[in-house]
Point group: C2
Amino acid sequence: MRKVILSFGMSLDGYIARPDGTVDFLVNDAEARTIMAEFFATIDTAIMGRKTLDDAIRMMGGTYKAPVKLETYVLSRSLAPGKFVGYEVVGDLRKLVEELRHRPGKHIFNMGGGELGRSFLEADLVDELFLGIVPVLLGAGRPAFPGGFPQREFRLTEHRTFSASSVLLRYERCRIGS
Amino acid sequence: MRKVILSFGMSLDGYIARPDGTVDFLVNDAEARTIMAEFFATIDTAIMGRKTLDDAIRMMGGTYKAPVKLETYVLSRSLAPGKFVGYEVVGDLRKLVEELRHRPGKHIFNMGGGELGRSFLEADLVDELFLGIVPVLLGAGRPAFPGGFPQREFRLTEHRTFSASSVLLRYERCRIGS
């Protein structure tokens, strides 16, 4: 069964980015790159929000290109659905995830946290959390888990620590009967 | 050297309590009680905010009594400083902590997170974080680390996991030259 995995790095006080969107506080050493490579080997599909796409296009100099081979979907309320170079714009999150789950493939990466993560959690579409926690309190930033969704319980399935004091925590969703 | 330890249990999305102040989501099993007993054996002094005192008095039926033998200080901008049964009200956090550090004793417990934790972090008085992370996303609540203090770096010194999927993370403050 293909899982939807919500994954990001965050500060100890729960921010995925500084107020201006920069993420310089995230650890990007050899250990972190190894973890990310392992993670990317388990997924073949990414779903991001329109703002994350805009940020990526800006950082990439005008054109989106996935860092690895990934079927990429962009959720948007403002853009018209359709296929573009490197990604497809969709409007209905539940329908998209249902269709993806019924197709064979690797796991599905819910990129970025923040508002799209909230939409996933509100619709109870997150099967796993894969969180990197870096040892810094920022005091300000963009929240990893903006509120506004019902309570969701999880079970810890993996934890690792790294020389740079980062911690990786992996959880699976506990649904009634699961 | 006596350390100031900021400690609390929090949800994965960084809340120390539900919007109404309840903390039923925190794990209170035998493992958690063992950890708390170990922690309480290392401290002899607690500093809390006035709101935490009010909550404690209400829950205790009208009189404050520390759960273990603890020298208890209550930070308040509204109450006049002075000694009361079971606690002393003080107005100046930096002065209090400086005085306590120069007296012999065990470590100092910064109780509760939230606004008092922010004051401690703003004044850079936190030497350790001792955090219990419970495996639930609440979606709403009282933030463990309300923003509004400068960036603070830490180093992971201990991590443990528990059968109820909770994680204990302990960090020490990295200050320039330390």
